[in-house]
Symmetry: C2
């Protein structure tokens, strides 16, 4: 339905452009607006208003969808809604994503600064990697911002390049967490066989050190991320660690058993991992 | 900072209005646009553009704030940001809030419909009351949409009227949950002494029956909502119930121990309960 409306609006927009052009070209030195037939002036405005209305409606619809993603209200989903491609693109490469990343990083930073460390080296901050420390946005720009169904072979090729840039606000938080004296554990759904390229990529992106890097080995293959990550947190707690902070872009990074004292959900409207 | 910018923009807006009025009043039969000094035409457009830019910036800022609320990234907060009053107002009384409520209700409905009931009458759906089943929006409209610090005495007077309307999409979900055969438990932070007015209000608003109504008694007074609600869920589990769904507008309704199999976070940018 929305797709059809989209095309109608595209047609109306072209018509509007055409009308405005005729209007511009007819505007010479002897131009007298009172001699022009009224509809030529009024119609394009009506279309513009209608176009804006449709834009507003689509914006509301996609904002509502994004809210339900970030509040974890949706059932598992495989691709973004087709009609929200423009919205997600604008959010991801515009200022929206950057602003949201900066806010979550600064909120986490304030919380971390006010925490009292126990001094026994057992206070841990967990970071996820993809879309938390490293950005795969260059890959998703080439693959429809989540509109294409996830292709593990293509994505693997991208990961193997080791070219994912740092998410700058996360790097800033990361530095702060290290400087404050927390232990930093990286907990990722990436496969163990990607260990060396992951280390290379992290280092190149500016993440200078960590205390543990936990990847998914063959044993944990096939487990849901939320189960795998809960189990790993459970092991940390058993080893006497206190998980005081956890940063991740998926709810499956944050929910489950042995949750962190506080969790920070980074924005990600492009994909969902259960 | 933003406040000062707000006032500057207000001034520019007034100036724009004034300029446009002069322009309109000077537009008589002998009007020739080429004789007008250029700045009179160009300046208002510049101001309009600047005004739109500022509006966009404020909108981005407040959207980012709202997402951090709904993703539970913020430290406990007492009032909404002053500069976001207009944004929150527009969201609450415009289409945004309604759309978000409808989406969370329909997502929960689809999930509920696909659940297989055990048939032993032990499958429970928990509903919070305020801003989940009943709307206090009429009160908050009179009290700055969360800009005023919460006044328990004033709010109590409002509750005592028993006039809170149903949140329509929640009522629709509620009916469906009852029809599907779930047990419905209402779990609210409201004080036990508000029991009869709460029953009266719920009934008047169309909530026709429930299996348990759990309020906060004097013993639980002073406990954080997240602790009180976790304890109550714990008791349900001990009694052999399976909590399969939980609807609430606060993360303190949904997080903590013995969480529901799936939780549904209703939007609420007006207040925060820890």
């Amino acid at each position: 339905m929305i797709c059809i409306r989209y095309f109608i609006m595209l047609f109306l927009k072209l018509f509007l452009l055409f009308s405005l052009c005729s209007f511009t070209f007819s505007h010479d030195a002897d131009f007298n607006p009172h001699l022009l037939p009224r509809p030529l002036i009024i119609q394009p405005e009506d279309i513009e208003t209608q176009y804006e209305k449709f834009d507003d409606e689509l914006n509301l619809h996609c904002t509502s969808w994004r809210f339900s993603v970030e509040a974890n209200n949706l059932s598992p989903w495989k691709t973004i809604p087709e009609e929200c491609l423009g919205y997600v693109k604008e959010y991801m490469i515009g200022r929206g994503y950057k602003l949201d990343l900066e806010r979550v990083s600064s909120e986490a930073g304030v919380y971390a600064k006010n925490l009292e460390l126990s001094g026994d080296g057992k206070d841990v901050w967990i970071f996820d990697i993809d879309e938390t420390l490293l950005s795969n946005l260059p890959y998703y720009i080439e693959h429809g911002y989540g509109l294409e169904i996830f292709d593990p072979i293509e994505f693997d090729k991208w990961v193997q390049k080791g070219m994912a840039p740092a998410i700058e606000p996360s790097l800033k938080l990361y530095e702060k967490i290290l400087d404050l004296g927390f232990k930093v554990f990286l907990l990722t759904g990436r496969n163990e066989k990607l260990k060396s390229i992951t280390i290379e990529n992290l280092t190149k992106a500016g993440f200078r050190r960590w205390d543990k890097l936990i990847l998914r080995d063959s044993e944990q293959h096939g487990k849901l991320a939320v189960v795998f990550k809960s189990e790993k947190r459970g092991e940390m707690v058993e080893e006497g660690y206190r998980i005081v902070g956890n940063s991740g872009d998926q709810w499956s990074d944050l929910l489950g058993s042995d949750p962190s004292r506080r969790s920070f959900k980074l924005p990600n409207p492009m994909y969902y991992i259960p």
